[in-house]
């Protein structure tokens, strides 16, 4: 059953919903990247929670006018209107009052959501309200989704994607260096507005599938995950879009196969799986890689210190240093240097003296700046220069044993 869902074998509607979700996930991952890079990720949480009163008011109005309160376009228009209002409130509070943006987000989020929940209760008391199924907007539901709904979602997601491609340069510049962007004539305020518009569009479109509580995760988790794998903005955008699309695709398919599970949380959990994997295993920025890098560095430091101690006939107290020296075959069990160890120790001490010489000589200022206790002197000086330094030091002294 699950495999059928993943392979789009569950019938036309389920297939349409799954593809729609994948497109939405891509749009969210791509749009969310710039929100994340602009360090305004949490604004999306305020936006998404602010959709609820709009959904409810739209339902009430449509039902009272005698129409079908569940009309998706009507509900999403209401959601967009109140989300925009919420966004305006956050912007106004954080620019015109002394409230910081995080406090403004908290205030707007809770007030709008609270109002929405009250309106939901009101709708429950209405005749038309019982079957409204508006709770689906909280956690997302693909059950009972119409073909037209899926098409609306897919179409809007595609438009959002195209807009991000069109605006990628101003969005990048505004995220990295807004002052420079302004100096080149870019209207950063308008770029921010466009970015928020994109986020708002993704949020509203994603309400039905992912739900307003979880949509923020679809905007934030994919770019954060993608950041582990690359150091380039364009790659973050592409990887984030792919991860978002994949998470939403798998999540929606699973939820189609297991109709009792809400769609939003499943999509988020799939995304979180990718995140955990990346956090642990990504090269460069991942945890495992950081641990390995640290261990290697620590090993180099200990070996270097150990060799210098051997060369100067000092006792070595650190067990790790001794163990590493023994493993290299440079010292014996009791901390006495082997022949190989003695030779290396002499070289290490010699290099240290060379470093000290060039560090006190202004002629070598540029090379000496590379000194960090570990760097091989051959990487900053030519053989001729090393010879010159050696002449300045004088003949090598015998190594103490």
């Amino acid at each position: 059953m699950i495999l059928d869902a993943l392979l789009l074998q569950l019938g036309y509607n389920a297939t349409l919903v799954t593809i729609g979700a994948a497109l939405l996930g891509m749009a969210a991952g791509v749009g969310g990247t710039f929100l994340f890079l602009r360090k305004r990720a949490l604004v999306s949480d305020a936006i998404s929670h602010a959709t609820l009163p709009g959904v409810c008011v739209a339902f009430i109005v449509m039902a009272m006018l005698g129409g079908d309160g569940r009309n998706l376009i009507g509900l999403l228009s209401g959601a967009a209107a109140s989300a925009a209002l919420g966004l305006l409130c956050v912007n106004w509070l954080s620019t015109r009052t002394r409230l910081a943006e995080d406090a403004a987000i908290g205030a707007v989020l809770s007030v709008f959501f609270g109002l929405g929940v009250v309106l939901l209760t009101v709708i429950q008391t209405m005749n038309a309200g019982r079957q409204a199924g508006l709770e689906g907007f909280l956690l997302g539901s693909t059950a009972g989704m119409l073909r037209s709904d899926a098409l609306i979602i897919a179409g809007s997601a595609a438009i959002t994607l195209a807009l991000v491609v069109l605006l990628r340069r101003p969005l990048t510049l505004a995220s990295f260096d807004p002052e420079f962007a302004t100096a080149t004539g870019q209207n950063v305020g308008r770029t921010d507005l466009a970015m928020m518009g994109l986020v708002l569009a993704v949020t509203v479109v994603g309400l039905k599938i992912v739900g307003l509580i979880m949509i923020v995760a679809l905007l934030i988790i994919p770019p954060v995950t993608a950041r582990f794998w690359t150091e380039r903005t364009d790659h973050v955008v592409v990887i984030s879009g792919a991860l978002g699309g994949l998470s939403a695709y798998i999540g929606a398919a699973l939820s189609a196969a297991l109709p009792h599970f809400p769609t939003g949380p499943i999509i988020v959990l799939v995304g979180f799986g990718f995140f955990t994997l990346s956090l642990l295993a990504a090269p460069g920025r991942g945890l495992a890689s950081a641990v390995i890098r640290h261990r290697r560095f620590q090993r180099r430091v200990h070996l270097r210190q150990g060799l210098l101690a051997l060369a100067q006939g000092q006792p070595i107290y650190e067990p790790l240093t001794l163990r590493l020296l023994r493993r290299e075959g440079w010292a014996l069990l009791d901390g006495v240097a082997t022949d190989d160890g003695r030779a290396r120790a002499a070289k290490a001490l010699r290099d240290e003296t060379r470093w000290q010489t060039i560090r006190s000589d202004p002629d070598f200022e540029a090379a000496a700046a590379h000194y960090d206790g570990l760097r091989a002197i051959e990487t900053v000086l030519t053989p001729d220069q090393i010879e010159e330094v050696d002449r300045m030091i004088g003949a090598p002294r015998p190594v103490q044993t």
Partner: protein, 267 residues
């Protein structure tokens, strides 16, 4: 150095802004109720290197940002060759303070330099080999060609500053505005930056830099603009960079020994 009133009695108003690559008139910028820059006039001389100096919090960077529209002034105008800055941005290259951006941003050195070409590329223009060659050439001019593929967070402070300068070079401007280009950089970078700036000046460009190290003003710059909320003085280093004027700008913050050293270096 002379302080000219806008309209002296009996003399007609003369607009002398047309010749200046950057002319600021009546600029006032305020954070809250306290003006950081008050009614400042500045007329940059074409083809010269000008240092904007003044004590901490005197409004040096603020003046520059207001002229560029990064901050919105309460009053005042800025013109390039007599025309509003907003219409002349293609003539201006700007180097912000290094600390103003997040250096953990996912971008490489070469990508940052290419940002200098964005205005010319537009929204959808493809980055072609000529653009990449141009960016590489700008990196080479600041001695950073070997770092093109590095993530910017791996650079030292001096290297980051050079990358910012390379991005400004890619803008191919006539007027270069730099905000504290020597703050927290190593000696080698300072030398590299000043030699690039001098080569720009020698090629007929105009350079304006916010500067904080009084001991190098006379060596590096032709003109000096001294500000402490208001304009204190403006003109060639030999005339405007004098102990008496500096005393006025810095007040008690400048030790006598320092003053003597400056007097000697400027004289």
């Amino acid at each position: 150095m002379s302080i000219s009133l806008a309209a002296e009695h009996g003399k007609p108003l003369v607009d002398d802004r047309a010749q200046s690559p950057l002319a600021i008139r009546g600029m006032t910028v305020s954070y809250g109720q306290k003006p950081a820059v008050f009614s400042v006039d500045m007329t940059v001389r074409a083809g010269a290197m000008t240092a904007i100096i003044g004590p901490n919090g005197a409004g040096k960077s603020t003046l520059l940002k207001a002229a560029l529209g990064i901050l919105t002034p309460l009053a005042g105008t800025a013109t390039v060759l007599g025309k509003p800055v907003a219409t002349q941005r293609h003539r201006i290259a700007y180097v912000p303070q290094r600390a103003s951006v997040d250096w953990d941003f996912p971008t490489r050195v070469i990508d940052v330099v290419l940002m200098g070409l964005y205005p010319q590329l537009g929204l959808l223009g493809r980055i072609r080999a000529t653009h990449r060659a141009k960016a590489a050439e700008c990196l080479a001019r600041v001695g950073m060609e070997d770092f093109a593929q590095r993530q910017i967070g791996q650079l030292s402070g001096g290297q980051q500053q050079r990358v910012f300068l390379a991005r400004a070079l890619a803008q191919d401007a006539e007027l270069y505005l730099l905000d504290e280009p020597f703050a927290g950089v190593d000696a080698a970078t300072e030398k590299a930056i000043i030699s690039v700036l001098k080569s720009l000046r020698d090629a007929g460009k105009t350079v304006v830099a916010v500067h904080h190290d009084l001991s190098t003003v006379a060596e590096y710059f032709d003109d000096v603009f001294i500000i402490n909320t208001r304009r204190i003085a403006e003109g060639p280093v030999a005339e405007a960079f004098t102990p008496r004027i500096l005393q006025e700008a810095y007040g008690g913050r400048l030790a006598t020994a320092q003053m003597d050293a400056i007097g000697a270096s400027a004289g």
